[in-house]
């Protein structure tokens, strides 16, 4: 059953991806990206990652959609037709993709319970966290305690993003004309 859902979701994701590639109205693209996130959240649920699914839905379909829409409102929403031949990107993508596929050949099969991933530290989390931490949601236990430091880093990343956005967007915007002929451009116009 879950395999069927899995396949359906993956197919839908692929279709959405291709649509994302082809559509040039950015509003539509943003909406599709939101849908892509929702679909992936569904996939995460199928693969038992409920926390991730929740977060992906909130972030991918929620926040980032809002941010994209806000940015589009500020910056316009039409995309030009790509001017140059996509040969180089195609080659890069092709090589990267093939390399990855090549890498999966020796990868343990999907869903195998004996895969090494599940038997090194994961065992410890599942078996010992009830004694060591004492909360049922192992993801939270790992997130906030075993790897709490990563989460602190994550919090800092979010904070860093806020600092960055404040530095970029706080304060008055310069008019386009003023920005266009600013004397700082280039070196010839030194003061």
């Amino acid at each position: 059953m879950s395999t069927v859902v899995d396949i359906v979701l993956l197919t839908l994701l692929a279709a959405t991806g291709i649509a994302l590639l082809r559509i040039r109205n950015l509003f539509a693209v943003v909406m599709l990206a939101g849908i892509y996130s929702l679909l992936s959240a569904g996939l995460f649920t199928v693969m038992d990652a409920v926390d991730v699914a929740f977060t992906e839905a909130a972030v991918g379909a929620g926040i980032s959609t809002v941010l994209f829409l806000a940015a589009l409102a500020l910056a316009g929403h039409h995309e030009n037709r790509p001017g140059h031949t996509p040969l180089l990107p195609l080659v890069v993508v092709g090589v990267t993709g093939l390399a990855l596929v090549y890498g999966t050949v020796d990868m343990p099969g999907f869903g195998g319970a004996d895969n090494p991933v599940h038997h090194h530290v994961a065992d410890h989390y599942l078996e010992e966290s009830p004694h060591e931490i004492g909360i049922p949601n192992v993801v939270t236990a790992v997130l906030a305690s075993y790897r709490g430091y990563d989460t602190m880093g994550e919090t800092t990343v979010v904070f860093a993003a806020a600092v960055a956005v404040m530095l970029l967007l706080a304060g008055r915007r310069r008019s386009r004309a003023a920005a266009g002929d600013d004397g700082e451009e280039g070196g010839a116009g030194h003061r």
Binding site: V117, A164, L167
Partner: protein, 501 residues
Amino acid sequence: MGEGAGRVTAHLPILQVVVPLLAAPICAVLRHGRAAAWLAVLASWSVLGIALALLGQVMAGGVISYHIGDWVPPIGIEYRVDIVNAWVLVIVASIGAVVAPYAIASVEHEIAARRIPLFYAAYLLSLSGLLGIAITGDVFNVFVFLEISSLSAYALISLGRPRRALTAAYRYLIMGSVGATFIVIGIGLLYVMTGSLNMADLAELLPGVWDSRTVKVAYGFLGVGICLKLALFPLHLWLPNAYAFAPSPVTAFMASTATKVAVYMLLRFFLSIFGAAFSFEVMALDRILLPLALVAVFSMSLVAIFQVDVKRLLAYSSVAQIGYMILGLSFASVTGLTATLLHLFNHALMKGALFMALGCVVYRIGSVHIDAMAGLGKRMPWTMAAFVVGGLSLVGVPLTVGFISKWYLILGALEKGGLWIAVAVLVLVTSVMALVYVWRVVESAYLREFSGDEGTREAPLSLLAPTWVLVAANVYFGIDAVRTAGVARQAAEVLMAGIGS
């Protein structure tokens, strides 16, 4: 007291990162730029003190392992300091400690007052991100701190006054994120094969799965991802504009630290985690890196010669110098790696000094165009003297650190014998090219007439003093390189452990 001190020293590894990391949010909410500035100075100086203390501890007592959250690795995250990253920490911390006070005057001049507290917040975040990458013993933690340093770096670069700073930051963001994503893919592939994220643990587990294609692909993705971050030719496209258009202190800081930490990542992943034996014997890393490094050194030196914006000129020179570091790695020998590790430090010193001198120029005349700098030798004698010494170091004149790096690099090439002499010749030829591009600036500054504003004076002491600290370091460590070379050699031996050489 004694017991208290003992406790503090035991926590040095985590304090190394947490001090600037927690100072950053405090900076962000301060209202006065000066207050934030001094907090940043204080934090960055204590960071340097901690880094030096750590280096001392490691040299005296060997590897330090700090278990965050009291969880024994690989269950929890570990901070692991050996001589290699203690060395890198000292490099980053030194530059951080010098640039912070330098930034005070420079930033007030180049950035709107309201943004200054945030600037220091971003600066400290970037610093702690880089330190975090260098000190951690957990591969996923590397990614997290990489993003802390990168995000703040994008913001810092975008603060440059020319609007091209924005596009430079954007390009860096795109390429940096691709790099980070590649690194994540690589980490994921390693994880799927071993089930571990701890570096030391991975180093033990990986030999068991060496021959799997997955590990090799992971190797490739990590390599490409890190090389994007360290701007190895031909993945360097983001770097020249980013350095050229960022505010002066940011350029000085980034040029001396960010790429160094990326080189460290490369060494750590390829030589410690995968192991030198795997890298050189299975993956033929040396044969892949050698041509890239040679092309980088040569072509980028050539491009630098034709630049008219001096910041950009030095940015291209940086890409070339990164080539030297990678070249040392591609020798696959202790001497070559010693050269790489020495050059990490030495290049930080020289580029730091040079970019800071340029910052002084920007402060006074607002431009670093080569024509705008004509005749500055008389108007700003100390600034230009700093530039000259830094430039000589870049060329590799004896009594400067540049010479020491070059010495070990050539020695490494000649040690290999045979056709490698051609590599040595190329290193020297590119030094001569460095002479040419440094020379163009010096000639403009000293042998042409000043044409700018009559009131142009020497830069203020608050800019000159930190600049000259680095200049003095260039000379001091050029005259007494026994200690630095000793540490670098020890570190190189650690990294090359397990391979006969």
